[in-house]
């Protein structure tokens, strides 16, 4: 049953890739159908799970023994508990919707079949990731989604920028993966196993140092996958991929895998406060980082990407808080999955209508042309900025509250940071809103010179947007009702209650306040007066933010360029030194023999001389013999 969950999309991928051009016409439908199949499976499993009560809801399925070498026993086994269930539902539902959406979006792409194959591959990998019963299998899914994201980011391979972005994403992720790999090894050497149960159970009788080490390694992995500082640089470029990809992988599901990993390994982090602190710091920094970047970008997708980073920063921070935060991290993750996917799909439909123009300064006043997009986008917008009683409102406020409840100065600090983040969120989202849908139209003919005439997207694209809009409106409320979600997850993640200096109400009030502040700020800058179609140079902070706060320049200066010099130097050395020694020896022997050859000059008299010399020496020797 659980195996099928993964198997269906995997089958789809295989069939589509192998099937070749016979499937060109029906390929996308096959893929969507298979995604839907796994969605249905997930739903049935879900209700079946609801049928059982809290503690024994977890399901296990042991397929086969994968790598058995002595004590090293890696199995292909699945574990479906509430946590994974949540993810499965999110992945399959959003995934299916986006398959549907892509049918319209990729309609004119000649390689659509392959695109859907990759999408299916991604679904399979992601489901494997969340369903795995041990860290090694999780690692497989982990790299699998990396591969899928590589393929999808670089889907338009003829664009060098896309190819580069894909490579960058994979490599940066690889760095994170090393973290995960080392973590798994540490687990093996520490616990003699890396299945969830033994590890998490054994966590509390292991030394804190080991746990910290494992925790940090896991965090490294999470940073890579979830685009957290310092491994965040790939996410912006990943927007080179088709928009549905950005929505599915780089907003809703894959980038949240880091949060899943840390939540899953809660037991380890609980035992390692230092690691938790690092997690919090990373989350907080990323939160602001993403927000700042989001404020400056004019490319709508990159702005949203910044927003994604920032939101995931929230979740990270929450997971760093320990049991207090896990639940809400996941909750925010789910709601974020809805509204951010909605936002991206909206952006996609906007681009669809505008000849793939991404510069928001070339939009303006689109609400008249694409009403559905406007409405759905708007709802998602309200959700993300935490408009009261929309989903963002609940999840984010809970996290902020949890941050305060850390207590003491750090509590205040965290709360403050997160409120600032909230304000920024409101600011950049409003900015996007205003630039895109309000004001007067600012678009010009593109390079080929045809005037874009914005139009609403086909139904296959709008329907998913609507569904997601509903989700982003309702999810939070539904979750918060009687703390459904909390009780749902509690058996897996546990639940802690910090004592917060401030009450829920005050937090909600403050959040709403700063939100309004942000909106006002954005309106003050972009709403009152017309926006110029070309970005003003702006202050240094803006310029820096436009360049993703110089992260790439930093990487380039610190890693890439020295790396290039190193490789070039080594190539030279290998040729000159390592190889040179050998060739040198050979050459010297050759020269020596060449010299010796001269002695044989063929003149009989020369040989005679040597003969007589020899004779003389012999005589001398005999004489000496007799002398002594």
């Amino acid at each position: 049953m659980i195996g099928l969950l993964v198997g269906a999309p995997l089958l789809g991928a295989a069939v589509l890739l192998v099937g070749g051009r016979y499937l060109e016409r029906v390929g996308h439908w096959v893929a969507t159908a298979l995604a839907a199949v796994s969605l249905v499976l997930a739903a049935t499993l879900f209700f079946d799970m609801l049928g059982r009560d809290g503690e024994d809801r977890a399901l296990h399925q042991h397929l086969f023994s994968w790598i058995p070498v002595a004590d090293f026993q890696a199995d292909v086994a699945f574990r479906l508990d509430q946590l994974s269930m949540t993810f499965v539902l999110l992945i399959t539902s959003v995934g299916t919707l986006i398959h549907l959406y892509s049918i319209g979006y990729m309609e004119h792409d000649p390689r659509r079949r392959r695109f859907f194959a990759y999408l299916n591959l991604f679904l399979a990998a992601m489901l494997l990731l969340v369903l795995a019963d041990n860290y090694l299998l999780l690692y497989v899914g982990w790299e699998g989604v990396g591969l899928a994201s590589f393929l999808l980011i670089g889907f338009w391979q003829h664009k060098p920028s896309a190819a580069t972005a894909a490579k960058k994403a994979f490599v940066v992720n690889r760095v994170g993966d090393v973290g995960l790999a080392i973590a798994v090894m540490l687990m093996f050497t520490t616990f003699g196993s890396f299945a969830f149960e033994p590890v998490l159970a054994g966590a509390n009788e292991t030394s804190e140092g080991t746990l910290t080490a494992i925790g940090l390694m896991l965090l490294l992995a999470a940073c890579g996958k979830s685009a957290q500082v310092p491994l965040q640089s790939w996410l912006g470029d990943a927007m080179e991929g088709p928009t549905p990809v950005s929505a599915l992988i780089h907003a809703a599901t894959m980038v949240t895998a880091g949060v899943y990993l840390i939540t899953r390994s809660g037991a380890i982090f609980n035992g390692a406060p230092d690691a938790q602190t690092v997690v919090i710091v990373v989350g907080a920094v990323t939160l602001l980082f993403g927000a700042i970047v989001g404020c400056a970008k004019d490319d709508i997708k990159k702005a949203l990407a910044g927003s994604t980073m920032s939101q995931i920063g929230y979740m990270m921070l929450a997971t760093g808080l320990g049991p207090v935060g896990y639940v809400f991290a996941i909750m925010h993750l789910v709601t974020h999955g809805f509204f951010k996917a909605g936002l991206f799909l909206g952006a996609g439909s906007v681009m669809h209508g505008m000849n793939d123009e991404v510069d928001m300064r070339r939009y303006g006043g689109l609400r008249k042309y694409m009403p559905i997009t406007f409405v759905t986008f708007g709802l998602a917008y309200l959700a993300i900025i935490g408009f009261p009683y929309l989903s963002g409102y609940f999840s984010k406020d809970e996290i902020i509250y949890a941050g305060f409840s850390k207590g003491g100065a750090e509590g205040w600090l965290l709360g403050g940071v997160m409120l600032l983040g909230a304000a920024l969120t409101a600011y950049y989202m409003t900015r996007i809103m205003l630039l895109t849908f309000f004001g007067e139209k600012r678009w010009q003919p593109d390079a080929q010179g045809h005037e874009p005439h914005p139009h609403e997207s086909p139904l296959s694209m709008t329907i998913p947007m609507m569904v997601l809009a509903v989700g982003s409106v309702g999810a939070g409320f539904f979750f918060d009702q009687g703390e459904t979600f909390v009780h749902w997850l509690e058996p897996v993640t546990g639940l802690g209650h910090g004592d917060s200096p401030v009450s829920h109400g005050m937090v909600a009030l403050a959040a709403t306040g700063v939100m309004l502040l942000g909106v006002a700020g954005a309106w003050w800058q972009y709403g009152r007066r017309p926006v110029e179609a070309v970005a003003p140079s702006g202050r240094w902070i803006t310029r820096a933010a436009r360049r993703d706060l110089l992260q790439d320049d930093f990487n380039h200066a610190v890693l890439v360029r020295p790396g290039n010099y190193l490789t070039r130097g080594l190539v030279y050395l290998d040729h000159k030194l390592v190889d040179g020694v050998v060739n040198g020896t050979a050459a010297s022997f050759g020269g020596l023999s060449g010299r010796l050859r001269r002695v044989q000059n063929g003149f009989a008299r020369t040989y005679a001389v040597s003969m007589f010399g020899g004779a003389a020496v012999l005589v001398a020797a005999t004489l000496l013999m007799r002398a002594v």
């Binding site: 044989q600 003149f603 009989a604 008299r605 001389v609 007589f612």
Partner: protein, 99 residues
């Protein structure tokens, strides 16, 4: 005077012959120098036989002569053949024995 002087003489002649072999290029002359060396050796042998008072030295010298004769015959034949083919009797011209 003691017969050793003969030995000294033979040594000197031998040396002369050796020098000739090494210095001269004309094959025939080289050959003569070899003969000179052989004769020097013979002188020494004869002197020895006298000093030791038995004839073995002379016998040996006798054999040396025979062999020398044979050698001369063959050697000269060789020289003639070489001369026919190369129109030169210089030992340096026949220096094909090199790489």
């Amino acid at each position: 005077m003691s017969p050793e002087n003969y030995l000294y003489l033979s040594a000197l002649l031998f040396t002369l012959g050796a020098a000739g072999v090494l210095l001269r290029r004309n094959a025939i002359v080289v050959f003569m120098c070899v003969e000179l060396m052989l004769n020097a050796a013979n002188l020494a042998l004869v002197t020895f036989s006298r000093m030791h008072g038995n004839l073995d030295g002379q016998i040996l010298a006798f054999f040396v002569m025979v062999v020398a004769a044979a050698e001369v015959v063959v050697g000269l034949a060789i020289i003639v053949t070489v001369y026919r083919s190369r129109h030169s009797a210089s030992v340096d011209d026949a220096s094909l024995m090199k790489l």
